[in-house]
Amino acid sequence: MNDQKAIEGCKKQDRISQKYLFDTYSDGMLMVCLRYVKNLPDAEEIMLNGFFNFFKTIDRFIYNGNTGVGGWLKKIMVNECLMFLRRKGGLKIVEEQLAAEVSIDDGQISRISANEIFQLIMELPPGYRTVFNMAVVEEYSHKEIAAMFNITEGTSKSQLSKAKNLLQKMLKEKKMVL
């Protein structure tokens, strides 16, 4: 079974097809949720909500390749995470002046493992973490982020800049970089 057949099966409410898609993408989607909410049970609950909505709205999904399913699922998960953070009140981004960006050596960064980077991101405050995830990992523009959180573009840029500075600081503290 591949993604295309699984999608067709899911449109017919086939449980095996649904199980296939869940098994394929659940780990990755749980990691996406964890990047935003940090707490594993919450991330798991958000992931299940995301899959439930995905299977409910699968009739509107048009298959465009293998990346399409992951991308669609990722968008759903991010939206679920943002909704969760709004409900919980953990998403308060205050207006800040643009901070001076500190450059990190690309070579040093490439030597750090993905898991270590993931752990560092998880240690960021919720506001910085969210903006960093959306701007760097999900590749949203600052304009889109500003519209989503009802903030200015400058604040979004400032949040990202401060998140990077904090990451560099943490890398230096852990002696990951020189």
Binding site: L30, E44, N115
Partner: protein
């Protein structure tokens, strides 16, 4: 524009398709949860008939309650209307009270008193009838009847029109009158407020009055003093006209009414 560092970070994070070390995720348990959640709508559909039945029952009960309340309101308003109409109907005279010409079978329904009706109470508290100030005695007296005058036959009973405001008088034939000397004594009129004793006035025929001027003067004087008035019976026009004016055209009449004035 993405910097090189950002690209490296993104690629590394995206590569975390599988769970990193230390994170334990029960995939099968999560799938069971998801299945349960996805099966939940089916259970809701199964409950739908019960909910719809309950809703229908509720609607029926509501309609029944509304219908009952409307019916009771209608009956109350009907009773109110009946009461008001009954109260507004004036009391109708019974068949025995109606004139002879108007008496027909089942034409008049006697008014029945309505219990516990405010209007009925009003009828109970009617103003007592005013005592007539002028009482007409039923006596027709002819004190002196000349022998040469023709006696009115019995068939010529006096059928004078009765004034609605007056009490109908009893008509007695002249021949039935006896000797004025044997007349019973005049009854005194006693009322709660005042009692007036009317003097017995000698009634004289007009023919005799014309012969005796003194008597005429006496008669006119009494008329002016409003003590007593004698009116000829056969002249209704003169009877209801000014009694102070003496009309000689009605001299032929032989009978007179004696009127007490309170």
């Amino acid at each position: 524009m993405k910097t090189g560092t950002e690209k490296i970070l993104k690629d590394k994070i995206d590569s975390l398709g599988t769970l990193s070390g230390g994170i334990v995720f029960g995939k099968e348990e999560a799938w069971d949860k998801l299945q349960t959640r996805m099966d939940a709508p089916a259970k809701r559909v199964a409950l739908l008939p019960w909910f719809s039945a309950a809703a229908v029952l509720l609607v029926l009960i509501t309609i029944f309650a509304v219908y009952n309340s409307t019916t009771s309101n209608l009956s109350i308003s009907k009773n109110k209307i009946e009461t008001s109409t009954k109260a507004n109907i004036p009391s109708v005279a019974t068949a025995s009270e109606m004139p002879e010409g108007n008496q027909t079978k089942n034409s008049v329904v006697p008014a029945q008193p309505l219990p516990q009706q405010p209007i009925a109470k009003k009828t109970e508290k009617q103003i007592p009838p005013v005592e007539p100030k002028v009482e007409i005695t039923n006596e027709v007296v002819a004190e002196t009847i000349p022998e040469n005058l023709p006696v009115a036959p019995k068939t010529t009973a006096i059928t004078e029109p009765v004034h609605p405001s007056k009490i109908p008088t009893k008509v007695v034939h002249v021949s039935e009158l006896g000797n004025p000397a044997k007349e019973p004594p005049q009854q005194t009129f006693n009322n709660n407020t005042a009692s007036v004793d009317v003097k017995k006035i000698p009634v004289v025929h007009l023919n005799d009055l014309t012969k005796q001027k003194d008597l005429i003067n006496q008669f006119e004087g009494r008329m002016k003093d409003n003590i007593a008035v004698s009116i000829p019976l056969f002249s209704p026009a003169a009877r209801y006209s000014n009694p102070d004016v003496y009309n000689p055209e009605y001299n032929t009449s032989r009978n007179f009414l004696k009127i007490k004035i309170n």
